[in-house]
Amino acid sequence: VRRAIEAGVEPAEEIPVRTAPATAHDLPPELISRRDGLCGEAAGGYRASSDGRGREGSDRCEMLAFTSTAFPIVGSLFSLNGRPRYIHEGWFLISVANLTVILLMIGVFVLALVLPFPHDEAPTPEAPSPEVGP
């Protein structure tokens, strides 16, 4: 900004501002062109936007385009780039992500109690516990 003022120009007009891409709209075209095949025209995917600045498409296609370009090895099954969802009922407020993890932990805990553990065919002698008692 200081250099622009010294040069006698308006900073806002001369200095390009770069921000991190928030959605596929903000990605460079060369990256979008390498998008997942699921988002082709036949799948109802991208098309040129009316203002000519980018492309439009469904949320899933945006997610696939973003994950497949920014993270080419592994793309997330669920879009983690959008606004988080919450469950809110009176005083109770929790994000869907946290509730999912809690339910998964409860499920794994119950399964760990009820599922049989694989045993060796040969019986293992019981080792005495060093100190057992109340």
Partner: protein, 214 residues
């Protein structure tokens, strides 16, 4: 002068007391009780495995630095591995905690084992919290500002400043992991010393049963 006349050095006394407290056959046992053959007993070692992955991925991140983990695809991969191993660490640790709580695992002179595990859980939360503060994004700024208010209200704000990025980074990569590692190491040694806690009996002991029927 015989060997019995020589007073052992402090290192010798430490060795004697260590071996007496935790003989090699108990430190690295050949067998385990049959009740350990249950899925609920697996989550302690799963927590430990996740902790090893956290330390290894964190070491790679510390070696290469923030510009690498933010700016390269492999850096982001290792960064994600650090995050998801932490998620698994807490996932397994909570299931481990539930299993031991409902097992009353502090029985049989195992109170210190329970306490070290509980304190390790709390220190792990602080370690993960400082990790979130070092993400260098809006989330970390928001969390740091909120935490600063809370810590100021509790009176420790002058010692622990979540808005101080350098302090939080050092706590996250040096002090807190060292504390967690010491607590986890002590916890494991205590498990070896006292043995794995057996499950609660399906039926109460005879004396208790008689007393309850009166």
């Amino acid at each position: 002068v015989t060997a019995h006349d020589v007073r052992p050095t402090w290192t010798g006394r430490v060795r004697q007391r260590s071996v007496a407290a935790l003989p090699p056959e108990r430190l690295l046992p050949d067998t385990q009780p049959v009740y350990v053959a249950s899925w609920i007993y697996v989550f302690g070692v799963l927590t430990l495995a996740a902790f090893v992955v956290i330390l290894a991925s964190g070491a790679v991140l510390a070696f290469a630095g923030p510009a690498w983990w933010h700016g390269s695809s492999f850096g982001r991969y290792v960064n994600s591995m650090h995050l998801w191993s932490t998620e698994l660490f807490f996932f397994f640790m909570v299931v481990h905690l539930w299993g031991k709580f409902f097992m009353a695992a502090w029985r049989g002179r195992r109170a210190l084992t329970w306490v070290t595990g509980a304190v390790a859980f709390l220190v792990s939360i602080a370690t993960a919290f400082t990790g979130y503060l070092t993400q260098q994004n809006l989330d970390s700024q928001w969390i740091g500002t909120q935490a600063k208010d809370g810590l100021n209200a509790s009176g420790v704000g002058s010692f622990f400043n979540p808005l101080n990025y350098g302090q939080m980074l050092m706590w996250h990569v040096v002090l807190l992991p060292l504390l967690v590692a010491l607590l986890v190491g002590g916890h494991i040694l205590l498990v070896r010393r006292r043995g794995v806690c057996p499950p609660l009996p399906a039926k109460p002991p005879a004396a208790t049963r008689r007393a309850s029927t009166r």
